[in-house]
């Protein structure tokens, strides 16, 4: 049976060890750096407009809420990640085949067929979804209470909000990008403090588990990121 599951009681475990003392210094440094990041509400988006950013904040807060165990999407700074991705190569579909003719209504099994790159899907998808929210829930998504937001997201996930075929991928992009921002290396702006990795017990970029293969025990060390910081 597990004895020292770091992802549950890491702080109490580390507090009692000499290694904990050393790790705590580094952890403090990592946290000190995180503290220098501007609060989410004051972040200036590179791509998203203020209204779009408010939507991304509100939507990701429901996709991975802060309540319960583990960080939520806002704690992990997922909106910053999404904004930076949309501002970069991912947003402009730099790697994708974007030659026409486009048949966005083709069978979904044949993959994405829209002419819109991901950043544009967000740009057109957010107001289209907001119209549905206003019609059925009485307000823009970001202004709804959390129960109404969950109803709206459920409808979006079921393809029930009347989006055009060009926006068919809006839901899957939003959910996928949210999980990417939750679990990515912190260099991309999400997974702040590596708390998402700590929560599930993923040790990040340690890159060597030779002495841990086949051992039925909880791995005792917390994660490191690519920059070499410890959580």
């Amino acid at each position: 049976m597990p004895q020292f599951p770091f992802h549950r009681t890491r702080r109490s475990f580390l507090a009692g060890t000499a290694a904990g003392a050393a790790l705590s210094v580094l952890a403090f440094q990592a946290r000190a750096q995180a503290a220098k990041e501007v609060p989410l509400a004051e972040y200036t988006p590179e791509y998203l407009s203020p209204a779009e950013y408010a939507f991304v904040m509100a939507a990701t807060a429901r996709l991975i809420p802060s309540e319960g165990d583990g960080p939520g999407a806002l704690d992990a700074r997922v909106p910053v990640f999404i904004d930076r991705q949309l501002a970069g190569d991912f947003g402009i579909a730099a790697d994708l085949y974007m030659e026409g003719p486009f048949n966005p209504e083709a069978d979904p099994n044949l993959g994405t067929q829209t002419a819109l790159p991901p950043a544009e899907i967000y740009r057109q998808g957010i107001p289209a979804f907001d119209i549905w929210c206003a019609d059925t829930q009485g307000g823009l998504f970001a202004d709804l209470d959390t129960d109404a937001q969950d109803i709206a997201l459920t409808a979006l996930s079921n393809g029930e909000v009347g989006l055009s075929a060009d926006l068919r991928e809006f839901w899957s992009l939003l959910l996928q990008n949210t999980k990417e921002g939750y679990f990515c290396d912190p260099q991309y702006g999400g997974n702040a403090g590596m708390e998402s990795w700590v929560y599930i017990g993923f040790p990040g970029a340690r890159g060597n588990f030779d002495d841990w293969v086949g051992r039925q025990e909880v791995y005792p060390l917390g994660p490191v990121n690519i920059a070499g910081e410890r959580a």
């Binding site: 049976m1 597990p2 992802h7 429901r62 996709l63 991975i64 809420p65 309540e67 319960g68 165990d69 583990g70 939520g72 730099a94 790697d95 994708l96 085949y97 974007m98 030659e99 003719p101 083709a106 069978d107 979904p108 099994n109 044949l110 993959g111 994405t112 067929q113 969950d150 997201l153 996930s157 959910l175 949210t178 999980k179 990417e180 679990f183 990515c184 290396d185 991309y188 998402s196 990795w197 929560y199 599930i200 017990g201 993923f202 990040g204 970029a205 890159g207 060597n208 588990f209 030779d210 841990w212 293969v213 086949g214 051992r215 039925q216 025990e217 909880v218 791995y219 690519i226 070499g228």
Partner: protein, 589 residues
Amino acid sequence: MARTDPKKDVVIIGLGWTGSILGMELAQEGLEILALERGPDRETVPDFEYPKVIDELKYGIRLGFMQKPKKSTLTIRRTLDEVAQPYRRLGSFLPGDGVGGAGIHWNGQTWRPLEIELRLKSYVEETFGAATIPDGMTIQDWGVNYDEMEPYFDRFEYMAGIAGKAGNIKGEIQAGGNPFEAPRSRDFPMPPMKQGVDAQMFAKTASALGLHPFPRPSANATQSYVNEYGMQLGPCNYCGFCERYGCANYSKSSPQTCILDALKRMPNFSYKVNSEVLKIELAEDGKTATGVTYFDEAAQEEVFQPADLVIVAAYSLHNVHLMLLSGIGEPWDPVQQTGTTGKNYSYQMNGATSLFFKDVEFNPFAAAGSNGISIDDYAISQIDFAKEGFIGGSYITAGISNGQPIRGISLPEGTPSWGASWKQGIGDWYGHAMSIGSHGSNMAYRDCYLDLDPTYTDPHGRSLMRMTFNWKDNDIRMTQFMRSKIEPIAEAMQPDSWQSSYKAEGAQYDVRPYQTTHNVGGAIMGTDPKTSSLNRYLQAWGQHNVFVMGASAFPQNIQYNPTGMVGALAYWAADAIRNDYLPNPRPLV
């Protein structure tokens, strides 16, 4: 516009596994060789350096080492009357590009096919009767037999440094190995990998059920190793970043770790990167190639590179695309059933059962691409096709290859995909799930093939290739049979819960989720120019100085990962070129 460069003895298209092998073998003959690679150069340092390669978003999700559809893709449809749509974003399969090709980002599972798989059609007809083969299934024999290929499997495995445990050495069954495998002349060059908790649990249960577990053969080294070219591998440290990544640790067999540094020292070998071959040029009579035309990205111009011998060694799909664009062979016509180029494209039929154990710590991040425990009790050679109603088989494995969280955390059925319950689910179940997977054969069919798309073009103005492919009842029955064998094993392991995912009746090919990059066929080898593109030495029937490497030569897919067969065929063809063709260039059959 096109520049013409001085003639070479040999031009090699693509510098992955087979291009590197042919480069080395033919360089040893003293020939002047130029390899043309469409992608960038890649070396362990700096391209796979720790820690920057341990980046799930960049390489595992944004697919940093893979082909960019913007530069090269194909169109896909399921049936002859559907309009094919471009494969705009990579999903179902992930072709590589750049030096090393798919050889850098594979997991390293390195198998040999069964003896009967190389003469599948004859085996089925002799054993079960020709009527067992359903209408529309176009399986064929390969034109080579296992015994003559055995030295070349051995050569590839010792060059690449494969870790495993033999189950059959010269007919003697070996305890702890795969008793159903074809006979080997000797054991693997390295002992098997360490096994995770999941594989150990599976092995114990499988043994108790009277099955025959053995360690999966692996191109992840288990000790320090020096191969025939003087290249060195170091033991794998189970970093958990194998498939989709280059290896930071010189442990995964790849062209980089096993061949290229030695090859680059050969003064008569050179290579150019960012040089995509556009066409294989043929002589006026069409009976030989005169060289290739490629696009030199640095010079921004087309170049004609004359050569006496053309080795086509790109990824299987690109080999076929080049043949279609160059007029090598007649295109396959699925209605008239004439022609050969593009014929018998096939894939791989896989399925899995996931098991959840709340009190077991699997530590999925402590993993390698190809450790794991397999059974081959339901191999293609062990099944009565007449009784079961399908042709095919599968090996079955438990072996976690990574614990990367964006790529997916297995959650019990009914867990929502978002919201508070999802978050609770990942906390509860990360590290507490394993799976038992079936890796199965896929037969060839009249209407599963490759040709040129009528509408879409690439940046060079060439027609994209069009893939027509769908799942067929035969292969769905095979995977459902495997389900019926795997689920009792899963139940016997007494998980808290389990769930299955196998293709069911009516399943339609979906290009979106990743399935496997085992795309085979389209330039198939065989015994008859009317029914195959290549003879048994991988030589084009119509152009004797064109040899086509790779899994495009498979007449239908085997039940195993293809690289072992691809490597053996490369050495087999190289041997024929060195000892038979070069002294007297001609059709070898």
